[in-house]
């Protein structure tokens, strides 16, 4: 297969940064790496928070909206996650994760917490109509490119593995909820989730999207 060499998120960040500079958003910090921004953030530099939001806020909001299917809740999830970044940047360990992964993990966890809480409260799943109507807008070219590669990798997964990953990651469902919804044994869903994520990792590496974690 043709290997598309896409720099990982750090590389995407580089492109984003130059876009940001062209737009004159946060000129002074555009040259810094994500890690350097977190260092500044740990010293309460608001500009660093603004710059990180400019880099990852769009993806973060898209993810939160996909999970929560409610614009207000999605905004809350993104805000909570960025405030968590603001408060705990000093505890970030660069050898454990990329900043982008850390931020998106916080966004995901917060969104999943909110969707589970909200569904418990309402006693029913959140309305799914927004998801169908959603359309990508206004993203940086590099983000669109990255999106295309990940979507392509997802398409190449066996459909049952893809379904298990999507219900878990985007649906906010636990393994037993997925098993119940699909009428499959719990053990099958766990195996499928593991096989699917491992296969996706491979496909992304082949596409040059993902490199092993540094350190």
């Amino acid at each position: 297969m043709t290997t598309l060499r896409l720099p990982h998120l750090a590389g995407v960040g580089t492109v984003l940064r130059s876009d940001a500079v062209r737009r004159g958003r946060t000129k002074s910090l555009g040259h810094l790496t994500d890690e350097e921004l977190l260092d500044l953030l740990a010293r309460s530099d608001e500009r660093a928070l603004a710059e990180l939001y400019d880099r990852f806020g769009g993806v973060a909001y898209g993810l939160a909206l996909r999970i929560l299917r409610d614009e207000t809740l999605a905004q809350d999830a993104v805000q909570d996650a960025f405030l968590a970044v603001w408060r705990s940047a000093a505890t970030f360990l660069p050898e454990r994760a990329r900043p982008s992964t850390w931020i998106l993990t916080l966004v995901h966890r917060r969104a999943v917490d909110l969707v589970r809480r909200e569904e418990r409260r309402r006693g029913e799943p959140l309305d799914d109509s927004l998801h169908a109507a959603a359309a990508a807008t206004d993203d940086e070219a590099s983000v669109r490119f990255h999106r295309r590669l990940v979507q392509e990798a997802l398409r190449r997964l066996p459909p049952d593995q893809r379904e298990a990953l999507e219900l878990g990651y985007y649906g906010g469902l636990t393994q037993s909820q997925i098993a119940e919804r699909l009428g499959e044994p719990l053990g099958t869903i766990k195996s499928r989730t593991f096989a699917g994520l491992a296969r996706l990792r491979e496909l992304l590496r082949e596409a040059g999207v993902e490199e092993p974690v540094a350190g």
Binding site: A50, L63, L165, E210
Partner: protein, 235 residues
């Protein structure tokens, strides 16, 4: 349910997707604390999971969200009160300095000391542990009922209460924390109220399914005498 190590290893994927049921997550986290290979697997799977965020077709966030986040961050900062003098940075080593910075970032200005922790050194270690929990994004948080704050459960189910703006216990009494499992409360430390937020390290782990409660007591007692004023039921 008893799961073997192969099964546990498999859970790394669903763990990275935040898609484990509570009992499996607790079992996996206990295993994770002692399994370096699993920690690497989780870190690697988290990268893959984060890539999934990029696959979403979604509208751009509303323009005002950026300003709201910056405003909220700004408003967050005035809560920060300098640490008490004995915790000033130059006096502390590396880990302590990190914890102190985390404390500043969290707006945690004071940490109550359990009666068992009467020497300053062990008190400071407990403080650091509690602050590390409080600041650890991987720790599980449960909102408190009855007070502002959260119960933070970290690796190995060690836990801390982060309590904000809790009124002083009346009449010279004190707050006492309990870990309740199977209807049996076990003492987990005493602390005081006060302005600002404080991180209270619990003296015992909080197993899955246990409840943490706080009662008002006449000093440290072995069994609660009053009704809980604060409760938290962690996942």
């Amino acid at each position: 349910m008893r799961v073997n190590d192969t099964d546990l290893h498999e859970l790394a994927a669903a763990y990275a997707l935040d898609a484990l049921d509570d009992d499996d997550r607790a079992a996996f986290e206990r295993h994770l604390a002692a399994c370096e290979q699993c920690a690497h697997e989780v870190a690697s799977f988290r990268e893959t999971a984060a890539s999934l965020a990029y696959a979403v077709d979604a509208p751009a966030p509303p323009a005002e969200l950026r300003g709201r986040i910056l405003d909220a961050a700004r408003a967050d900062r005035p809560n920060v009160v300098p640490l008490p003098r004995r915790w000033t940075l130059p006096a502390l080593g590396g880990v302590a300095a990190v914890a102190a910075v985390a404390a500043l970032a969290l707006g945690v200005w004071s940490v109550s000391l359990s009666s068992q922790l009467d020497d300053e050194r062990s008190a400071r270690e407990a403080t650091e542990r509690a602050l590390a929990f409080a600041a650890d994004p991987d720790a599980a948080r449960t909102e408190l009922t009855g007070a502002e704050g959260s119960l933070v459960v970290g690796e190995g189910r060690s836990a801390a209460l982060v309590v904000c703006r809790l009124a002083e216990a009346p009449g010279g009494k004190t707050y006492e924390a309990w870990v309740i499992q199977g209807g049996r409360p076990q003492p987990a430390g005493v602390f005081d109220g006060g302005a600002g937020c404080r991180a209270v390290p619990l003296e015992r782990p909080v197993p899955a399914g246990a409840t943490v409660a706080v009662t008002i007591e006449d000093g440290r007692v072995a069994q609660p005498t009053g009704e809980p004023v604060i409760t938290a039921e962690p996942a």
